[in-house]
């Protein structure tokens, strides 16, 4: 019998991480929904998303984990808008590509990078898609996006830094609970 790429155990781990991501976004995003600041939604949940994605990679160190976790987490968000699953999965894919480029090695630095890549790419893709969705013109969108200046920069770097802090905390947590590390 052909062995599957992900075992059931790994799928369950990823689904629980996805549930945690969904729960965190359900708590944090409505709080900042009315704030008009680029990337505020990524800023609000960046720390937890960074933590959870790093835990997911530590539990299942395989290519595709980011995409599957973000896909499962964002499916119920389809209610709000089709744009949400698009940018969430795209950010998960970027994280997977980063994981592949690092040679699938999870050191403290590369794990911290997982959160940075996830949140920074999510912020950029979400804002670009959002503006494009409203404007329906890529060049105007790009110009408008760049004209936001320091606000975009704060959103971009803030999301990345918070994601990085979250992932860094995950490495610390895993060191504290070494007995829980199980790649099965």
């Amino acid at each position: 019998m052909k062995e599957k790429y992900f075992t059931n155990k790994q799928i369950i781990s990823m689904a629980i991480m996805a549930a945690a991501m969904l729960l965190v976004s359900c708590i944090t995003v409505p709080v900042v929904l009315g704030v008009a600041f680029p990337g505020i939604r990524c800023l609000s949940c960046g720390l937890f998303f960074g933590l959870i994605i790093a835990l997911a990679y530590a539990k299942v160190p395989k290519f595709g984990v980011g995409t599957i976790v973000t896909l499962v987490c964002s499916l119920p968000m389809f209610f709000f808008s089709w744009v949400i699953p698009c940018f969430t999965v795209a950010a998960g894919l970027c994280t997977d590509i980063y994981f592949l480029l690092t040679g699938k090695k999870l050191t403290t630095v590369t794990t911290t990078g997982l959160g940075v890549v996830l949140m920074a790419s999510m912020m950029v893709i979400a804002e670009s898609l959002g503006i494009w969705f409203i404007d329906n013109n890529a060049w105007t969108s790009f110009a408008q996006y760049m004209s936001e200046g320091w606000r975009v920069a704060v959103g971009f770097f803030g999301s990345g830094i918070l994601g990085g802090i979250g992932s860094f905390l995950a490495t610390r947590i895993f060191k504290e609970f070494k007995s829980l590390r199980n790649h099965g």
Binding site: A15, I16, M17, A19, A20, I173, F177, G184
Partner: protein
Amino acid sequence: MGKRIYRMHPVLKMGLCVLTTALTFPCWNPFRILGVCGILMALQLADYRPGIWRSFLIPFAVGGVMTGISYGLSKDLSGSACSGLHFSVLLLSSFYMFQTSPSELLRGLQSCRLPDQLQLAFLVMYRFVDVLREELASICQAGSMIDRKRIGLIKKGYRCILIPFSYRLLTLSDQLSLSVMSRDFGCQKRSNYRENPIRFRDAQGFLLLGLACVVILWMPLK
């Protein structure tokens, strides 16, 4: 306890919920949106579950608060009512979708021939959002007993929330995988498995209700 009059196939139920929310968002007439709310409430009543009145009350309470805030800011009653009702539709359709029990959802997804692993992931995620919410509430409650001034806000957040929550995430996934493996999920045919295909009356209900939403939202009144 009430009786379940009409139970739609879980996959079509999801499709209908997405359709109603997507159709309602471009509409800015409060009476038409109220019509869609009525359809969703009737569907929830037909697919009766205990505590259904709470799932009627919450959407309208939240929608009312949002209407009040919007009216306070814009002084436009119709626009504010629409923005509140859009949120009510969203909540009503979510509550209707989440009336599906995990086993119903699993059988519905299996009948659509989705890969086993994708079904498992979706089902676990669907079931565990609520479990994790309870876990997080217990962790926060336990953390409230530790004085913030004694260890500081950041350290308290890390020691009393992040570490216990991560620990629960990891142990929950281990426990659940053990349970799934002990039941041989995906290894052989289920001994107690009833097929739940999309029936004609499900498709008929989906089409009629979708059409009703379109008519309510877009039919010219004059």
